[in-house]
């Protein structure tokens, strides 16, 4: 019946158009809210919380280049944000560079350092990769604490402010808020471009089944290495920008596994497969973290809260919030007949279910 099917197609496009319109409205509303935030913030403290959350978003998007495309979960991305911070600071203090030049040069330097690290750690999959990523942070913590002539050791390092002393505190926060947002937008654009490219297709094939991807001719090692270096670059930029804003570096906070786990939690909560997932996750987790620190600051209770939150996300929604909402919306789609992306895990689960159903049937 050609008329019925064309009718269904019409309805589908109508639904899709409505969905697209809804998404556009949401996006414009969110963008307006973000841009207007510094004007709406009642005081400098709330504004500084906004900068922290924007910084988390930049870190999470940087992390998601590796985590989202290849499925390699790195718990040690604090290594690159910390290195970015220290590289920027040292290039200003010892190199006498302009702060913004130092930020760029520092991030490029970190990207170069990430090449040998990537070569070593991407040779192994899963477990060993995570172990190496954690080891990197622990090494850098040891080095930055011991090598006090350069890094200032445990007493920390003061980073010169890029804006003059005449720029007041709230004004500083406002400028850095917009700078962080700009960094997030640039990183998202790069992520989006990769997502739609042949390169991105190869990376996602690696995520689903690395052996099959390799046998289909995807140069897996080179692809993984390139995206790893891109990820290190953006993470280092985020770390450097944060250092310029905060003005002080302490090894314990820079090279902390906690920072790396924040990035993972944010991306996972938002959804590592979706473009905006890490940003949504950063807003939720960043707000929760600041709230917990405010409430239970003196005790170690914020660690418990973080641990429980991570556990719940891993156990009950490993795909994240955005994909969950997406599938909810899809339920209202008149005919869900289009080809949709399916992960290897879902495929396995589905085939397992049908197998069990068949056994019951027998």
């Amino acid at each position: 019946m050609p008329s019925a099917s064309s009718h269904a197609a019409d309805r589908r496009t109508g639904f899709d158009r409505a969905l697209l319109g809804g998404k556009a409205v949401l996006l414009v509303a969110a963008a307006t809210l973000v841009l207007a935030f510094p004007r709406m913030a009642p005081d400098a403290f709330i504004l500084s919380v906004g900068v922290v959350i924007a910084s988390y978003a930049a870190l999470a998007v940087g992390w998601n280049f590796v985590g989202g495309f290849t499925g390699y979960i790195s718990l040690g991305h604090a290594a690159y944000s910390g290195l970015g911070g220290y590289a920027t600071a040292l290039l200003i203090i010892d190199g006498g560079l302009n702060p913004w030049v130092a930020l760029g040069v520092g991030a490029l330097g970190v990207a170069l350092v990430a090449v040998p690290i990537g070569v070593a750690s991407l040779r192994v999959r899963g477990a060993s990769f995570v172990i190496v990523s954690i080891a990197m942070v622990l090494i850098l913590l040891l080095v930055s604490q011991s090598w006090s002539e350069v890094t200032g050791g445990s007493s920390g390092l003061r980073v010169p402010r890029p804006f003059g002393e005449d720029v007041l505190r709230p004004e500083q926060h406002e400028r850095f808020f917009y700078l962080h947002v700009a960094l997030v937008v640039v990183a998202l654009l790069v992520w989006w471009a990769i997502d739609r490219s042949r390169f991105g297709m190869g990376l996602k094939a690696i995520r689903e089944d690395e052996d099959k991807a390799q046998s289909l001719g995807v140069p897996t090692f080179r692809y993984k290495l390139v995206v790893f270096v891109i990820s290190a670059f953006f993470t280092a930029l985020a770390g450097g920008l944060y250092a310029l804003w905060f003005g002080y570096l302490d090894p314990i906070f820079q090279f902390s596994i906690l920072i790396g786990s924040y990035m993972v939690l944010m991306s996972l909560l938002g959804g590592i497969r979706s473009l905006l997932g890490p940003v949504v996750g950063a807003v939720i987790v960043g707000y929760a973290l600041e709230y917990f620190k405010n409430q239970y600051g003196d005790t170690q209770f914020h660690l418990v809260a973080l641990g429980l939150l991570l556990g719940v996300v891993v156990l009950f929604m490993p795909d994240g919030v955005l994909p969950a909402i997406g599938s909810l919306v899809n339920r209202f789609r008149p005919t869900a007949a289009s080809i949709r992306e399916e992960s290897a895990a879902e495929l396995l689960e589905r085939s397992e279910e049908t197998r069990q159903a068949e056994e019951v049937h027998r």
Partner: protein, 294 residues
């Protein structure tokens, strides 16, 4: 380096290596039975040390007796963790997600320890804490020897269970080839649960040994998990003898390097060895095909 000092470094390295070996054996056992990297292993280690300290403070009895409580408790916790939490994860992403789940458990334990016992550094004072004896001019503390003895006994027990009992045979079969083990009628899910329990029991023993001669605080577990994970990768993931040998070698190296380089820099030997291993032999020195694929 003078003769007695060299000897002392080697002996201290061997004693430390024994503790590393026991803990790394537990860590590699989890990986063997379930392909899980158990980040919370060292958090449980510190938890056991705190329980030993608390036991000693409340009762005044030697902390070694806390083992009677902590070992069964940790075994049951391990079985429950495997059956209730880890087995819920999807098989396709098990390795990655288990890292995150056990990381979450480690954070929760660290936070609870800080919340309940505060971040103050704790240390057990015993009658024999200060006593030591000389071997060819080298000074060895009695508590370090006791800790080593405890670790060595536990490792020997683990070896005997793995090699001599029917349960150990089933456990090794599950590690080698889970599907084939299932075909032979082994209930691999239950065996994996018990394997997990045994792994956690090693943390209980290690923690008690640790509490005898070191100062403990909630975030101490980060100093242990790095070296332990490096050891199991170097030894080959899933290989208990590999883990034990790598632990002894690295323990002695660390102890020897401490004299010229200082404590902090000497720790980097674990990570340098880790990177060297990945460049030369990514599957580790004793692991088979298993280690390379994960």
């Amino acid at each position: 380096m003078s003769g007695p000092l060299l000897l002392q470094s080697i002996i201290l390295g061997l004693l430390l290596g024994g503790l590393y070996a026991l803990l790394a054996a537990g860590l590699t056992l989890y990986f063997g039975v379930m392909r899980v990297v158990m980040i919370a292993h060292s958090a449980f280690l510190i938890l056991a040390a705190y329980l030993a300290w608390y036991f000693h403070r409340e009762t005044g009895i030697d902390p070694l007796f806390s083992l009677v409580i902590t070992v069964p408790l940790f075994f049951v916790t391990g079985v429950a963790m495997q059956r209730l939490l880890l087995s819920r994860l999807r098989p396709a992403t098990l390795t990655m997600m288990s890292v995150l789940l056990t990381f979450a458990i480690a954070l929760t334990i660290e936070g609870m320890l800080g919340y309940v016992f505060s971040g103050t550094q704790r240390r057990i004072q015993l009658g024999y804490s200060g006593s030591n004896f000389e071997v060819f001019g080298a000074n060895i503390a009695a508590v370090k020897l006791i800790a080593f003895g405890l670790a060595a006994l536990a490792l020997l027990g683990l070896y005997l269970v793995m090699k001599k009992t029917r349960f150990g045979q089933a456990l090794r079969a599950t590690i080698q080839h889970p599907e084939a083990a299932r075909l032979l009628g082994i209930n691999t899910d239950r065996i994996a649960g018990y394997g997990f329990g045994i792994g956690l029991a090693t943390a209980a023993i290690g923690g008690t040994a640790l509490s005898l001669d070191s100062t403990i605080y909630p975030s101490l577990h980060w100093h242990w998990i790095g070296p332990l994970m490096a050891i199991i990768v170097i030894g080959g993931l899933g290989s208990i003898p590999g883990a034990a040998i790598a632990a002894m070698v690295l323990g002695v190296s660390q102890s020897l390097l401490q004299v010229p380089m200082g404590t902090t820099w000497a720790q980097t030997v674990f990570y340098l060895a880790l990177f060297a291993t990945l460049m030369i032999r990514p599957q580790g020195f004793f692991g088979g095909r298993l280690a390379q694929r994960f």
